[in-house]
């Protein structure tokens, strides 16, 4: 899977541990394993959804890919076949225009002291993407694409509603003409009707510009709507990963099954076959031995308590990390079996 040009992003066994400082001299007394071995490939022009409970490392994964969270602990992040963490400062600056992020909370991620035109245009000027003469037109154009009016340029963020602020955040990310955008819960702070507007906007922009998204969210229905592939995370691990249809129609991992059964369906007659997970997510500083999910798993076996499962390809492009499928054939090695 080395330098395949189909893939804009290849993440291999990515790890990020945060040290826990303690004691008199504040030395490291432990580690929070926020991301603990995440592997996936992202095709150009597609959207990958990343779902999981809070604290499972979704956001950290997004940030580590963009090299926004200091040094990684291990693994590889190849962007267009190039290791992001091997780049020099200068190369990284060039890369910043290619990969961007939209943050979760549009209320705290915009500087209250800058007018909107400056928020959107600051990076454009910094990276000298357009000449001075074209600058104003360029910003107007970007704002227009994101559903903002030119006269909004002189206003300040507090004058906008939540949905419009999120549009500003999107415009800021897109002004640099990126190829890859990490959307970190872009709609979770918004109302349902505004959510729909922003999701439609993101989809439209993707079609126009051939963008690739990593869409981080805990709202499964939104993820199903927007993504081509989905990764399910639990406690720093990607437990299941595959095409959206495969994952939603045929979830394999017990955690994915429980997660999907917990989605409330807007139909009062719908029968609930809910798998209610006991307890809450364990601390990532001290994760359970073996399979990390075994403490809450309904199908827990003796083996799960000691041995960590490895990623297996059950159907073409559908990977799962679970001992339940130890006996299933790995299609990556042999002919595709019937799942």
């Amino acid at each position: 899977m080395s330098n395949n040009t189909d893939y804009i992003l290849q993440v291999k066994d990515l790890k990020k541990y945060f040290p826990i400082k303690g004691g008199l001299l504040s030395h490291t007394v432990g580690q929070v394993k926020a991301v603990d071995g995440v592997t996936f490939n992202l095709k150009r022009g597609t959207t990958m959804g990343l779902v999981g409970e809070s604290g499972c490392g979704k956001t950290t994964t997004g940030r580590v890919i963009l090299r926004l969270a200091g040094e990684k602990t291990g693994g590889e992040v190849l962007f267009n076949g190039q290791e992001v963490y091997d780049m020099s400062h200068k190369q990284l600056r060039g890369l910043r225009t290619k990969m961007q992020i939209i943050f979760q909370d549009p209320f705290s991620s915009l500087s209250p002291r800058l007018p909107v035109g400056e928020i959107i245009g600051e990076a454009v000027r910094e990276h000298k993407l357009v000449s001075k003469a074209e600058f104003n037109d360029y910003i107007d154009n970007v704002m227009d694409h994101c559903g903002l009016q030119p006269f909004h340029k002189d206003r300040y963020p507090h004058e906008f509603s939540g949905g419009q602020r999120q549009r500003i955040c999107i415009a800021r990310a897109l002004a640099l003409n990126p190829e890859f955008v990490v959307c970190d819960e872009p709609v979770s702070a918004l109302d349902v009707s505004i959510q729909a507007q922003i999701i439609n906007l993101l989809k439209e922009l993707q079609e126009q510009r051939g963008l690739t998204y990593l869409f981080i969210s805990h709202d499964l229905s939104v993820v199903e709507h927007i993504s081509d592939t989905v990764g399910v995370m639990y406690l720093g691990n990607l437990v299941e990963y595959g095409a959206t249809d495969d994952i939603f129609k045929n979830p394999l991992h017990p955690y994915t099954k429980a997660l999907f059964s917990a989605i409330p369906v807007p139909d009062p007659k719908a029968k609930m076959n809910r798998i209610v997970l006991e307890g809450s997510i364990p601390s990532p500083a001290n994760p359970p031995a073996g399979c990390k999910f075994h403490t809450r798993c309904a199908n827990c076996m003796e083996k799960c308590k000691h041995e960590a499962p490895v990623q297996k390809e059950i159907e073409p492009g559908h990977y799962v990390v679970c001992h339940l499928y130890d006996d299933a054939k790995d299609v990556s090695k042999k002919e595709a079996p019937h799942a």
């Binding site: 959510q195 729909a196 409330p264 807007p266 009062p268």
Partner: protein, 386 residues
């Protein structure tokens, strides 16, 4: 050079005039509410239907701000039957929280005031009108008859007191039996067990920061249930929680409601949660009820364009659509509401009558009513038949 003022601009002079007028109104209302030893007859009332736990009748709650009067709740009427769950849906700012705060008399005062209407609370042998209750008497009602589960379990617990002490306090303040300290503690631990906290005695001595979000929400629920209230207001109880934890909490709420025979008023913007929990649904928009009915009626046969739009704009797992429907435009300015249907400017199903005054309620079935001109003709038909 005269500066061009944007829409909604207020000069300092104008603002001063408004706040002076506001002070006059609010001071009067406050004085009325602050009276001591009010005879019971003044707020005693009769339930329209003794099967209801709460009846909101033409409730108007206004906020008198310096920029003008915000009509947060503008003529809301609905009932919460005993033992049932009523779901209130709407976007942020539509007045769903203010409606519930009016019932608790926990509005931001003195700006927030109930100016008109009645909230009848069924006390068993009698009924009180909460809108007329003096503050002094409210204390006896809160906790014992109505209690509330707040949205943010992270911020609604006091970080400097232990969990046990915070629940003890509730029981101590509202308990009329005069229990001993040990009895109160025993009750608290029993409550913690009831809401599914395994290590209840350990949690009794813990601080809020030692608990996860789901556990904190359980503590909040335990606190709300401490005195077995007749009505529980759950204001977005699961919005801040993950789906798996949300499922746990919803199961718990449903289970506990039956256990202590109370009614739940569930406020949320998640239609999925409503479908799962509610028997009746009230859809609010810009301070008014636009549609109400049983959960079946609302979900199978939504009548108001806003309800229809709301349903269409939410992606549903298993139903693929190419493009999500999004309701065009935005909510009108609450200070300066139009005198026609509030939804008209965003509505894509306008009919002839829409230019007229705010549409009256039309009944589609004994339980299903909607405020929309599209159904006006149907109303006349049904009247002719009769």
């Amino acid at each position: 050079m005269a500066k061009k003022q944007s829409e909604g601009y207020l000069s300092a002079k104008e603002s001063r005039r408004i706040s002076k007028a506001n002070r006059k109104i609010t001071a009067q209302l406050e004085k009325r509410r602050g009276r001591k030893n009010v005879p019971e007859s003044e707020y005693l009332t009769q339930m329209r239907d003794p099967q209801n736990a709460v009846e909101f009748d033409n409730l108007h709650t206004y906020f008198f701000t310096d920029a003008g009067t915000v009509k947060s709740v503008d003529g809301v009427s609905f009932e919460v039957p005993i033992g049932k769950t009523v779901g209130v849906v709407g976007e942020s700012g539509c007045g769903k929280s203010v409606t519930s705060l009016s019932l608790m008399q926990l509005l931001q005062r003195p700006q927030g005031q109930i100016v008109e209407g009645a909230i009848r609370l069924n006390m068993g042998d009698k009924a009180y009108d909460v809108a007329k209750m003096p503050t002094e008497r409210m204390q006896a009602l809160r906790g014992n008859y109505v209690s509330m589960i707040f949205q943010e379990p992270m911020t609604s617990l006091n970080p400097v007191f232990r969990i046990g002490a915070q629940i003890d306090e509730v029981i101590q303040l509202h308990d009329e039996e005069g229990r001993s300290k040990a009895a109160i503690q025993a009750r608290t631990i029993q409550l913690l067990q009831m809401v599914g906290i395994a290590n209840s005695e350990g949690v009794y001595g813990m601080y809020p920061h030692e608990l996860s979000g789901g556990m904190r929400q359980r503590v909040m629920i335990a606190m709300a249930l401490a005195c077995s209230p007749r009505v529980i207001i759950a204001d977005e109880p699961t919005t801040a929680l993950d789906v798996t934890i949300q499922a746990q909490i919803l199961d718990l709420l449903r289970h506990l409601k039956d256990q202590i025979h109370s009614s739940i008023m569930l406020i949320t913007h998640d239609l999925g949660v409503i479908a799962e929990m509610a028997d009746y649904v009230v859809v609010m928009y810009a301070g008014r009820v636009v549609e109400k009915g049983t959960a079946q009626e609302i979900f199978e046969n939504p009548a108001h364009p806003y309800t229809i739009g709301l349903m269409a704009s939410k992606p549903v797992v298993g139903k693929k659509v190419d493009k999500l429907y999004s309701i065009p435009g935005k909510v009108p300015n609450p200070i300066d509401m139009p005198n026609y249907c509030y939804f008209k400017d965003r509505c894509e199903m306008c009919v002839n009558g829409c230019e007229g005054a705010y549409p009256p309620e039309v009944s589609l079935s004994p339980t299903h009513t909607v405020s929309c001109y599209r159904y006006e003709s149907r109303k006349e038909e049904s009247e002719n038949e009769q």
